[in-house]
Symmetry: C2
């Protein structure tokens, strides 16, 4: 929060524009007392983000001067999301773990249900959350579709496909004659989804089916995409989803899964996914869920009647250091009985 | 919060009593879903607090097994204080820095003023804060009095001495014939302070004067103690306090100051005081203030008419790693004009 606050106050922008300002000048420029500016900047000096000249009392950007704008924007989007969606909510983590409900969301927003419901009602949550998720999807979807095959002319179902963005990406990135992609999600998503298909010029090739994954998955599809979804649930619900998808497919039918994974060696100290996700899922977004290891998802798929044909974990070296999830692709086909 | 939650849920106590429990057994024992227990424990396994046996799924205490009870209690007191007094409040840090007011305390508790006012009204804040502060005072006061001289028979004023604990410590640890210690604080502290003097059998040697430091400091004292106080204010108020104390003293009169200090080298990465205090003071306790370097306090004392006669900074190696402040003692005497 100290770092984010220096951005929110406008201190960093002021220093970018006018290097060499003192705490007194910065305070006047951003509308805060110089003493507070000085206190907050101690940490940024310690960490080498900002430089301080003891003699003149002048501050200037240090490491922050060299961060590309897009990188900075992405990191700030993450920091803002953590502030808005997680910081206060985590006060109630213990109660959330006990009850399986988002006690923080209830206390702070009067909201029942999950974050996905709350974002529809609350602008601050929506702006903070949607901005991040759009950025994540834009970055990860191309990588996902690069790593999966979709047979020419396949009938594809995008499970829990929200308002159609995944279907649009699927059609555009894997186009083939006869390819058809159907978004499956709650009926209230239909209008916005169909509007999105028209806006992106894919209305001829994409369609929508309304329903609830936990009440059954539509049949007649060759490939089911399950993106950003399994990590939202505890094991019993993951099994319900995978078994339901399995029942909907013919033998040999395929699933293509995109999911964040924990490292196989949980003690890997370079990986901070287990620092973040358990509290985030249990206390802030779902009241349950959280990623698993790739080997766990592999085992669960096999226990639900699939043969895993391919797995890919994104190389952590290719993920910017401010981005938390390490995504994986699992491809599997439905076993004969 | 993930670590603290594992304590709050009772997971750590359960494992201490019955090592080798699985997530299923732990979940049943503490009243949480095994999936959530497993998710939260990932981080504790990563950090080596808890051990996990992959084959049997059994958890047991790892490093936590070897932590002495008193050490653990102290660290948990800190963690609880940070949760209750700081976690949610820091969401509003930027607004607090802009306004110099504790916006988080207002939003969350409807409380105007500082944390010191709010603890009187709100039990959760008081329990969390007072428990920590009592532990801090019990640990630091003996070190402070070890490092200062008080002339035999001196008349001592404990500035902003609250309900008398500092005066009691001063009398007991520095007793001499004729020594008299007076607590100076807001008039509403008088009854509790005098009751404390009686309870500790020092009523003959200790007294109370009601007043406000910013409206004047009583005269006639040889030594003024200023403990845990200067760090609560911005420079202009620190100067008001020091100048007011200076005016109250005869030439050669002494001040003995206890205050947390930042390291002289702000970039010292072993020291995390600048990580914690700026946000804590500005966003959670005062809406202003924060420690300074020892050299800054020295300079300020000199600018306010004192000669610094002695400084001691507690050796960080003697401070348990979970304790944040690094305390310092500054002794000074009033200059001739």
């Amino acid at each position: 929060m100290t770092l984010l606050s220096c951005f929110e106050l406008g201190i960093i922008d002021a220093l970018r524009e006018t290097p060499g300002m003192t705490a007194a000048k910065l305070g006047a420029a951003v509308g805060a007392k110089p003493d507070s500016v000085e206190q907050l900047l101690f940490l940024l000096v310690k960490e080498g983000f900002v430089a301080y000249d003891e003699g003149s009392g002048a501050y200037s950007l240090d490491a922050l001067a060299g961060v590309a704008k897009a990188d900075l924007q992405r990191a700030l989007t993450y920091m803002n999301m953590i502030k808005v969606v997680a910081l206060r909510q985590l006060f109630y983590l213990t109660d959330s773990a006990r009850t399986g409900a988002l006690v923080g969301l209830k206390e702070l927003y009067g909201s029942e249900g999950t974050l996905y419901g709350a974002v529809a009602e609350h602008k601050d949550l929506r702006e903070s959350w949607a901005t991040l998720m759009d950025a994540v999807t834009a970055r990860i979807d191309p990588w996902f579709f690069d790593n999966i095959d979709i047979p020419a002319g396949a009938q594809v179902l995008d499970l829990a496909g929200n308002t159609g963005l995944g279907a649009i990406h699927a059609y555009k990135l894997k186009a083939s004659p006869g390819l058809r992609v159907t978004t499956f999600d709650l009926p209230e998503k239909e209008d916005e989804c169909l509007a999105n298909f028209r806006k992106h010029g894919v209305a001829e090739h994409c369609s929508f089916i309304g329903g609830d994954v936990f009440e059954g998955v539509p049949e007649g599809f060759d490939v089911v995409l399950i993106k950003h979804f399994l990590d939202m649930f505890d094991k019993d619900d993951v099994f319900k989803i995978l078994e339901s998808v399995n029942r909907s497919l013919q033998v040999g039918g395929q699933v293509k899964i995109l999911v964040p994974v924990y490292p196989e060696n949980i003690k890997d100290s370079d990986n901070y996914n287990v620092d973040f996700f358990p509290a985030f899922f249990i206390g802030c977004t779902m009241g349950q869920g959280g990623p698993q290891k790739l080997s766990t998802y592999r085992r669960w798929l096999e226990e639900c009647g699939f043969t895993v044909t391919k797995t890919v974990v994104k190389n952590p070296a290719d993920i910017p250091p401010d981005v938390i999830p390490v995504p994986a692709v699992l491809c599997a086909t439905k076993d004969p009985h």
